[in-house]
Amino acid sequence: MAETIQLEVTRYSPEHDAAPTFQRFEVPYRRDWVVLDALNYIKDQLDGSLSYRWSCRMGICGSCGMMVNGEPKLTCATFLSSYAPDAVRVEPLRYFPVVRDLVIEMSDFMVKLKKVKPWIIQKEEKSIADGEYLQTPQQLDVYKQFSMCINCMLCYAACPVYGLDPLFTGPAAIALAQRYNIDSRDQGAKERMDILSQHEGIWACTFVGECTEVCPKHVDPAGAIQQYKLTAAKEWFKSLLMPWGAK
């Protein structure tokens, strides 16, 4: 078994470089090391100027998303042993602007997340004295899968629609909107429909399905979007056939 493995890492410093370049490092190889451990080794021992995001090291914070050999992955969940003895290429998450080395600019996602209103919308707010909202396990089961999103944005890196048209709301944001739409405590489906039935909302999606393939938490954003399209179509037919229905 090889003792070391080569890592090819994107370097980009806006203060010195006009465009990103690659740099090769040789790091120790261990069976239980992931790509993130290799990056930490580089930063600690070889070159402290390598910048990247990470935090929990266990796939729950969503910070360490990067492209590993061209695939969007969480670097804390990608073993070096899957690539050894070949070199591993680590690049910043695709389709986002690169700020520095492996760090991307993600404010676009934050704006879109806010736009879809990811909170419980009630026609009349209950006060705390009225008690909590009750929900059965079956009602929870309906939206539970979509609530598992860790906001890692691997789905955006996988979505060619987002790559070609950065205005697209994107898989994670729509999946979170759907999570609230089908939550039994929420009454805001109409509000979100008005926002998401725009061109850059659900209709920009062409069901490539790669977002679901790369999602580390099995949220199935592609499924969420198609279900949302079905609901939107039903609503449209209803409004056509029964225009006097309550708005």
Binding site: P14, A18, R94, L164, T206, G209, A222
Partner: protein, 142 residues
């Protein structure tokens, strides 16, 4: 704080982050089989449209009597047309199979609080297809 996107010669100024945007190639879909499959799936709709048109012409010529139909068949016997038809048929099959397999992702049916397994929804589509095809075939060949 306004970022300056690099366009070659833009200079970095202190405290103004300069972001780099990689251009997405027009041939983004050639890099991966999954993307290629997607593009082929979308393109198959052209062949579906072609198939529908041919079928409509066939029915139209049928309704005009046996000579019109004979002429139609003559035109279809052309090797180029046969090749085109064969390719179209494959694409229509591809289109149908991918459509049925993806249907359960959009149609979530819940019975008694639990989600109906995907294979049942896809399966029921296939069964319906078989039943309708069998009925049409029986009707024509009778």
């Amino acid at each position: 704080m306004t970022p300056h996107e690099t366009k070659g010669e833009t200079q970095y100024t202190a405290y103004h982050p300069r972001w780099y945007r990689t251009r997405v190639s027009t041939y983004w879909w050639l890099g991966k089989w999954y993307y290629l499959k997607f593009v082929l799936r979308e393109l198959s709709s052209i062949f579906v449209a072609y198939f529908v048109v041919i079928t409509l012409l066939q029915i139209h010529s049928l309704s005009r009597g046996p000579e019109a139909y004979a002429r139609f068949e003559e035109r279809m016997r052309n090797p180029l047309m046969i090749a085109l038809d064969a390719i179209s048929f494959l694409f229509v099959l591809f289109h149908t199979i991918t459509w049925f397999n993806l249907a359960p992702r959009a149609m979530v049916v819940r019975l008694g609080g639990k989600r109906v397994p995907e294979i049942l929804i896809a399966g029921s589509n296939y069964v319906a297809w078989l039943v309708i095809s069998a009925s049409v075939a029986w009707f024509i060949l009778r």
